[in-house]
């Protein structure tokens, strides 16, 4: 049988995610401070989605602030989060890197205007759609899921997030990019989700949480729910499910 908890892999486990956890916790606390809700999904391991949500809603330490976190079933996650989440909310996915459902949701999170966090184990995702990636490398995902490694990651996320709350001066949101020629906002494509296709061919999308009319003539036909890359009001390509 496999060796369950090997002390020999100690150093990798510590160094890998610690810095990423710190940065993600600061971002999370800043979002919570503005009233954000955290939507939690773990397609392969639904129990982890529920566990991380209950940590934030019902803290183990008496007197610690309860924070809004909701566990959603993977099968209905896109519909549920699209309808209920507000721009500025948080999407937390717990999975392995090859989880197509998690990657798809994290990609949509950008269109919906959510801050996204991908937490997992095994091979680190390449080209992640998430704003923050907290990853335990060098372990089998299925083993990490039950060895205490994965739950440790989100326990720490909760603990560090609450430490940030001890620093009200640091909770102000990071300044938004308002530069007209900013690379992120203007020169590169943005992920958009089709919300409506009108009979005359006009297409409405949601980009960064805002509804916009775009020119989709280069990528037609499209349907509600499709993900597009939009540049300067023009859809330049269709994103086929994240992970492909």
């Amino acid at each position: 049988m496999m060796a369950v908890v090997e002390t020999s892999r100690a150093t990798r486990l510590e160094e890998g995610p610690a810095a990423d956890l710190a940065v993600a916790s600061l971002a999370l606390a800043r979002r919570f401070a503005t009233g954000a809700t955290m939507w939690c999904v773990a397609p392969q391991w639904p129990s982890h989605g529920r566990h991380v949500a209950v940590e934030f809603v019902h803290p183990v330490i008496v007197g610690t602030r309860a924070l809004p976190a909701v566990s959603v079933d993977a099968a209905d996650a896109a519909a549920a989060v699209r309808l209920a989440a507000r721009p500025g909310d948080i999407l937390l996915a717990v999975s392995s890197a090859d989880d197509v459902c998690a990657a798809d949701l994290l990609t949509r999170a950008g269109a919906w205007g959510l801050t996204s966090l991908w937490l997992g184990a095994g091979s680190r995702p390449s080209g992640s759609p998430a704003d923050h990636v907290v990853w335990l490398e060098g372990v089998e995902p299925a083993v990490a899921s039950r060895s205490g490694d994965l739950v440790l990651l989100y326990h720490l996320l909760w603990e560090l997030t609450h430490v940030v709350f001890e620093h009200p001066g640091l909770l102000a949101p990071e300044p938004e990019c308002t530069d007209e020629v900013c690379v992120t906002c203007a020169d590169e494509g943005r992920v958009a989700e089709v919300s409506a296709v009108h009979p005359d061919g006009r297409v409405d999308v949601v980009v960064a949480g805002r509804r916009e009319a775009i020119d989709a003539s280069l990528v037609t036909p499209v349907a509600p729910g499709d993900l597009l890359l939009v540049h300067a009001g023009v859809a330049i390509t269709t994103l086929r499910g994240a992970g492909s």
């Binding site: 049988m1 908890v5 100690a10 710190a22 600061l26 330490i61 739950v151 430490v163 620093h167 640091l170």
Partner: protein, 219 residues
């Protein structure tokens, strides 16, 4: 690092600190320290409980070999550990899939029992419904004091189920209950570190069960 429940109040962070980069560095330092704590506690717990795990795992394997099923329960985060355990036995990363039921995954049953007979009976009533001699009752509790857990173990023990409890602190009521035949205690006072170590204990138990079943040959 303190293992007190208030150990998250990091003493090295000054109230007047206003530098985001400095805070991030402190957070990362804290994460490293707690990851080391968690790993050390898990390793020490597995080491100290080695004989108990072997005993419990051997008994569980005998139950499965004779057609027994595993029933898992717990409250809150421990309920998700119970669900995760059921998933581990049903869909193992390797080895033999084994029959396991969660007593925390049906909201109709949970709310009906809680509303009609009380939350302290929410697991024991399900043990009455589902448990048969030769089955295995597995309960997770960080405190070891949850009344509904103790009632479930008493019911299970009386009905001839094998009873396996995982708890923290000094084990509290579960550790001294005659109804809990195999009680695996994580010696920590941090709920989070206890849960992480309980996961490691259960994975090792599962691994032990698989090893014994493999040694027995085909079912």
């Amino acid at each position: 690092m303190s293992t007190e429940p208030t150990g998250f109040l990091y003493p090295f962070i000054e109230a007047e600190e206003r530098d985001g980069a400095a805070l991030v560095a402190d957070l990362a330092h804290s994460a490293r320290s707690k990851m080391a704590d968690s790993r050390a506690l898990r390793a020490a717990t597995l080491d100290r409980c080695g004989d108990a795990i072997e005993l419990a795992g051997t008994a569980m394997a005998a139950c499965f070999a004779a057609g027994g099923r595993l029933l898992a329960f717990g409250n809150g985060g421990s309920a998700t550990d119970a669900d995760g355990t059921v998933d581990l036995f049903r869909h193992p990363p390797q080895g033999r899939p084994l029959p396991a039921l969660s007593l925390v995954d049906d909201q109709a049953v949970l709310t009906a029992l809680s509303n009609d007979v009380g939350f302290e009976l929410v697991f024991s009533r399900q043990v009455i419904a589902h448990g048969q001699a030769g089955d295995i009752a597995v309960g997770f509790s960080t405190s070891g004091d949850s009344v509904n857990m103790l009632r479930a173990f008493e019911e299970a023990s009386g009905r001839g189920l094998l009873t396996v409890g995982l708890c923290g602190y000094e084990g509290a009521a579960m550790a001294v209950s005659d109804a809990v035949q195999h009680c695996l205690v994580v010696r920590s006072e941090s709920v989070h570190r206890i849960q992480e170590a309980q996961d490691a204990l259960m994975l090792e138990l599962w691994s032990t069960v698989q090893r014994h079943l493999a040694a027995r040959g085909s079912p």
